[in-house]
């Protein structure tokens, strides 16, 4: 499997998980108030967390795609 394919598969799966975490059925498990984190209800915090995961994912993807090339 060539490099490009591998990147597409791994990151595609990663972002699919991020998406499913924010909608049904993934988000169902987070639909509660406790525990509060940073003063936010858990359901609210859940979205803050996954938006961050998307952000991290794009950084990894960028580095992976352009890694080793100037």
């Amino acid at each position: 499997m060539d490099r490009e394919r591998k990147i597409a598969l791994v990151m595609g799966a990663y972002f699919l998980i991020c998406t499913l975490a924010m909608i049904w059925p993934g988000a169902v498990i987070a639909n509660r108030v406790e525990p509060m984190i940073f003063g936010l209800p858990f359901f609210f915090f859940w979205y803050v967390l996954w938006v961050f995961m998307v952000f991290i994912g794009t950084i990894i993807l960028y580095r992976w795609e352009y890694g080793g090339r100037s």
Binding site: I23, P41, F55
Partner: protein, 505 residues
């Protein structure tokens, strides 16, 4: 209250500065259409980022977002979710659009689609669907500007006058400086808006509840239904919530004004860097939603008639901020409405003139005339949206979600252009038309089944017809479709300047 003079004064000064920055940018570009539409194709990262960013900081974010948190509670989080996800498809589609745009000199989204499917009529349909989606979006910005002026001046500037003032300014700077004008104004406005959102959000939580944590504790004790799905009142089911996120995330990059901007990007890395920073814009929704949640207990005994007014009501009438601060806050929120409004007015008129008038009726229209007609329609569309704002007080979120149902119908076509050689003209027509009609049906005439967003039903019908009809009709010439599927694989950096400045139709 005579303090409103201070508020109005600060706002007026701010609007003048915005206008001046926009006009200054004008002297730095030529007046050809490519210059006017795509910023001369050399937009740097900072400008591109703020142009796209200004999308988020619209009247929707400042009024509709808190409005939903105040009215329903947790369902408002759908906005943060789609902002986080919305630009991901662009990682693949954006560079491809930029490559073909540079290669064949496209200016609009419909240029690309109608060239691939060899159909000028398709271009007209796309133009009509786009404008139908743009008008509610533009109306939303104007309505927002009107609320803000009205609330902040204690009613001394009535709704109609506030909305009018903001949009005369928008029309002037779009009219005179094109996209570059929008870019520089957005740089200025973007910075102010971030500061404003966090300032109001944290201050409001501290002033009424002594902090964000204790605010949510208090809501948990007195009205816990707001903090989880389905939310308060009618709320939102999981199906409605999930499909609202999906339709917005898929439709997001299909907005013609965002799509067009990829043609102006100077490198693929710029596009990807923009996508990386983008989810962080979603964090602007944290203070915004906090403001809405704060309203839940503050207005518990006297519920607001209009939930979209929760932010101005809290800031102006309840929190007792100094008029100086209110002026700055108002300016920031107004800036949000105006920058997005400018962007929308500019794109809608470009789409209408190029994809409908030029493509279908008069292919040899001189460029000078195209530019002046585009500018004319900026004014016409702004006026139409202004009149709608005066008569249509629908919820801001509903206006926006309806518009997304329309633009999401472009997604299957764009994917087919880049990846599916077998897609045919008939398939594209069938998919787009039936998809749009199904969306209209479930938006306005029939209650949507299973509470799934109407746009998703249209999207599914669209894909089925695009695939089914394409397979049932004769394939398009291999040479022709190769230009798009293979042509979009060569990196942007290898393409150089486009051969001609006209679409090679």
């Amino acid at each position: 209250m005579q303090d409103w003079w201070i508020v109005t004064g600060i706002t007026v000064v701010y609007l003048i500065v915005v206008l001046a920055v926009g006009l200054r940018a004008r002297s730095q570009q030529d007046s050809t259409l490519v210059g006017y539409v795509a910023g001369g194709r050399e937009l740097g990262l900072v400008i591109l980022f703020f142009i796209m960013g200004a999308e988020i900081f619209s009247a929707f974010a400042f009024l509709g977002g808190p409005g939903w948190a105040y009215g329903l509670g947790a369902p408002g989080l759908y906005i943060m979710a789609y902002l986080g996800l919305g630009l991901l498809p662009w990682w693949i589609l954006g560079p491809k659009a930029a490559r073909l745009g540079r290669k064949y000199g496209y200016l609009t989204q419909a240029d690309l689609i109608s060239d691939r499917f060899s159909s000028k009529g398709l271009s007209a349909i796309i133009a009509l669907v786009s404008v139908a989606a743009f008008i509610p979006y533009l109306t939303l910005q104007i309505t927002g500007a009107g609320y803000l002026f009205e609330a902040a001046t204690g009613g001394n500037v009535p709704f109609w006058l506030g909305a009018l003032a903001a949009f005369v300014i928008v029309a002037i700077y779009v009219y005179t400086s094109g996209l570059r004008g929008i870019g520089w104004t957005n740089v200025l406005q973007g910075i102010i808006m971030v500061v404003v959102a966090w300032t109001i959000g944290l201050t409001v939580a501290y002033r009424f509840y002594g902090g964000v944590g204790s605010m949510f504790r208090e809501i948990q004790a007195k009205a816990p239904e707001y903090l989880t799905l389905p939310g308060a009142g009618d709320g939102m089911s999981w199906a409605a919530f999930s499909t609202a996120i999906l339709v917005s995330a898929i439709g997001f990059t299909m907005w013609p004004h965002l799509f067009m901007k990829s043609y102006g990007a100077d490198s693929e890395r710029t596009i990807k860097k923009t996508i990386i920073i983008y989810p962080l814009y979603g964090y602007l929704l944290i203070p915004i939603l906090i403001i809405g949640f704060a309203g839940i207990l503050v207005f518990q005994d006297n519920p607001l008639d209009n939930q979209d007014n929760v932010l101005p009501q809290l800031v102006v009438n309840v929190a007792n901020f100094s008029p100086w601060l209110i002026g700055i806050l108002l300016s920031g929120a107004l800036a949000a409405a105006m920058s997005t409004g400018a962007n929308l007015a500019h794109s809608a008129s470009t789409v209408l003139v190029r994809d409908l008038f030029v493509a279908v009726f008069d292919r040899d229209m001189p460029e000078q005339r195209v530019v002046s007609l585009t500018k004319g329609f900026v004014v016409v569309l702004s006026v139409v949206a202004y009149l709608l704002a005066l008569v249509n007080p629908a919820s801001l979120v509903d206006l926006l979600l309806g518009a997304y149902g329309g633009v999401v119908q472009f997604f299957p076509l764009i994917v087919a252009v880049f990846f599916w050689k077998r897609a045919t003209t008939a398939g594209a027509w069938a998919g787009l038309i039936v998809g749009s009609l199904v969306t209209l049906l479930f938006t306005f005439f029939v209650t949507t089944p299973f509470e799934i967003h109407a746009g998703i039903w249209g999207f599914i019908a669209n894909i089925i017809l695009l695939v089914g009809v394409s397979l049932a009709t004769r394939p398009m010439p291999e040479e022709h479709v190769k230009r798009f599927v293979e042509g979009s694989k060569a990196p942007l950096e290898e393409i150089g300047e486009s051969q001609t400045s006209q679409p090679s139709a």
